[in-house]
């Protein structure tokens, strides 16, 4: 089964803080060469982390649901720098 998560995220409201992502990968080379499991690319519910063909992992936080999972499951390398967005920015739930 194939699921297009972008289609789901399209229903949500966001106020994106352009140019100021609230999550970042500390050392991309750790993702590429040390982290064999790259679980963030599978577990992130908004699919913000993507496994690129060349072994790198990319992160685009625009669709982030601010759950915190990526930070907690990166417990082998602690390679995720995670803050909340600035006040008022980010996901904006209408129903929750």
């Amino acid at each position: 089964m194939n699921v297009n998560v972008e289609e789901k995220l399209f229903q949500n409201r966001y106020k994106v803080d352009h140019g100021r992502p609230h999550i970042s990968i500390v050392d991309p080379s750790v993702c590429a060469s040390e982290c064999r499991t790259q679980q963030c690319t599978r577990v992130c519910p908004a699919s913000c982390y993507k496994a690129e063909g060349n072994g790198n992992v990319s992160l685009i936080t625009d669709g982030c649901l601010e759950c915190g999972s990526c930070r907690i499951i990166c417990d082998d390398f602690r390679n995720v720098e995670w803050e909340y967005p600035r006040g008022g920015y980010g996901i904006l739930f209408k129903f929750g």
Binding site: M1, V3, V5, K8, L9, Q11, N12, K15, T37, Q39, R42, V43, P45, A46, S47, L65, E66, C67, G68, S69, R71, I72, I73, D75, R78, W82, E83, Y84, P85, R86, G87, G88, G90, I91, L92, F93, K94, F95, G96
Partner: protein, 431 residues
């Protein structure tokens, strides 16, 4: 320099309960919320248990945005294409005052926050608290992402939810363990009110909840749920983060498969999906609970692991811990005592005397039992479903032989000592 009696970080149920109770007793309270409005960051199933809120706002039923009161609870154990379960409906649940309701958190939190503001709390939204301000070991205020955003108070109540970043940054507790938190994803599907009522066989205002375990979580420790709202259905699934990490199953894939289960699909058919959400639930229980107070600070709600995962209760523990923290502060203030770690220990004894700690103590072994025994989420659902199919299929076979066949299927998958020890483990954990 502005100084308050108390700063509350977060405007979810725990923070709102605390702020409301403090202000009602006449204390000066500043409440800071990072969302555009309270609720805009918050996610819940959502069942609201009346009792905890009633103790804070007795007349809430006349004003709060409530969806449906629950008259029927279904518990399903799912195999790939079947389910076996129990349904319990009682007209007792139709007698006022109702015991629980479905709610939509974004709307409910907004309402609760208006009540908080009416009590005189200064509620500031769109502001993220970035750090606690310390004086030695004592918390004396908070730093926010606003210009000149430092504010001070005698006591800071951390109601900032499951991620609990502030206490972590201050070194009060370490990072969450993936085995102590569940990740849940859910969708809200809109349907005409009549469709909701006919599909679930209920009248206006009445609702049904379905809790599910089994193959929908693909062997991971977790549950699914489906709740009826006024004109919509909430459907979601959650599993432990440690299992997600290990199994590498995208959570939205799990949800999509669940929506296509033959027992579920007809119930949600035609529903228009209007929001997709994800949130963590702290499920580590008592054994994973962090330190909950210290000099100048207290923790309430999800950030203190106050969730009863077995009974899917969280918002009521959040409101109760918020209220009890506030009552502790009020009493100390009236007695002219400082908010030292030693004096705040009475928060802990209030919790011990309440259902909060009693329930968490009762189920303290539960998370461990499920972690160590995945058969509860795979083998048993399959066995139960097969047993039902065997018994209910009329195919010329006699019932006695069918019983023997079922018993054999159980002992084949799980040795007799295995079955007995599972029963014992469950009994120990639930006792």
């Amino acid at each position: 320099m502005e100084k308050f009696d108390c700063i509350v970080v977060g405007a979810g149920p725990s923070g709102n309960a605390a702020a409301y109770t403090l202000a009602k007793a006449g204390l000066s309270v500043l409440q800071i919320e990072r969302g555009e409005y309270p609720g805009s960051k918050n996610v819940q199933g959502a069942i609201l248990y009346s009792d905890a809120l009633e103790r804070i706002i007795p007349e809430f039923r006349d004003e709060a945005p409530l969806e449906r009161h629950i008259i029927e609870q279904r518990m399903w154990v799912l195999d790939d294409d079947s389910y076996i379960g129990t349904h319990y409906r009682s007209d007792a649940f139709n007698q006022k005052p109702y015991n629980r309701y479905t709610i939509l958190r974004a709307q409910f939190d907004k309402w609760f926050s208006e009540k908080v503001a009416q009590q005189g709390v200064l509620v500031i939204c769109e502001t993220t608290v970035t750090d606690l301000i310390m004086d030695g070991k004592r918390v004396v205020g908070v730093r926010t992402d606003r210009e000149q955003g430092e504010v001070f108070a005698d006591i800071v109540i951390l109601a900032d939810g499951v991620n609990s970043l502030l206490a972590k940054k201050a070194g009060f507790h370490p990072e969450l363990n993936p085995g102590d938190v569940a990740l849940a994803v859910k969708e809200i599907l809109f349907l005409p009110q009549e469709s909701v009522e006919s599909r679930f066989n209920v009248n206006e205002g009445e609702g049904v909840v379905i809790e599910m375990i089994g193959k929908i979580t693909q062997g991971m420790m977790g549950t699914g749920f489906l709740y009826t709202n006024q004109e919509s259905i909430t459907i979601g699934v959650g599993c432990m983060l440690s299992d997600f990490k290990k199994e590498r199953i995208p959570p939205y894939l799990l949800l999509e498969r669940m929506k296509n289960h033959p027992a579920i699909k007809p119930l949600i058919q035609g529903g228009e999906m209007k929001e997709y959400t994800a949130h963590l639930i702290p499920e580590g229980g008592l054994r994973a609970m962090p330190q909950i107070c210290g000099d100048g600070w207290m923790i309430v709600g999800d950030s203190g692991m106050f969730v009863n995962a077995v009974h899917r209760e969280g918002s009521n523990l959040a409101m109760t811990t918020g209220r009890l923290a506030a009552e502790t502060v009020i009493d100390l203030k009236r007695a002219g005592k400082d908010f030292t770690s030693a004096n705040l220990a009475s928060y802990r004894s209030r919790l011990d005397d309440s259902f909060v700690m009693k329930d968490l103590a009762k189920y303290r072994d539960m998370p461990g039992v499920f972690h160590a025994n995945p058969q509860f989420f795979t083998t048993y659902p399959e066995l139960l479903n097969n047993a039902a199919r065997t018994m209910l299929t009329v195919d010329g076979g006699d019932k006695k032989s069918k019983e023997r066949e079922i018993l054999r299927s159980f002992t084949r998958s799980r040795t007799l000592p295995g079955l007995l020890s599972d029963a014992y483990k469950m009994w120990r954990a639930l006792r």
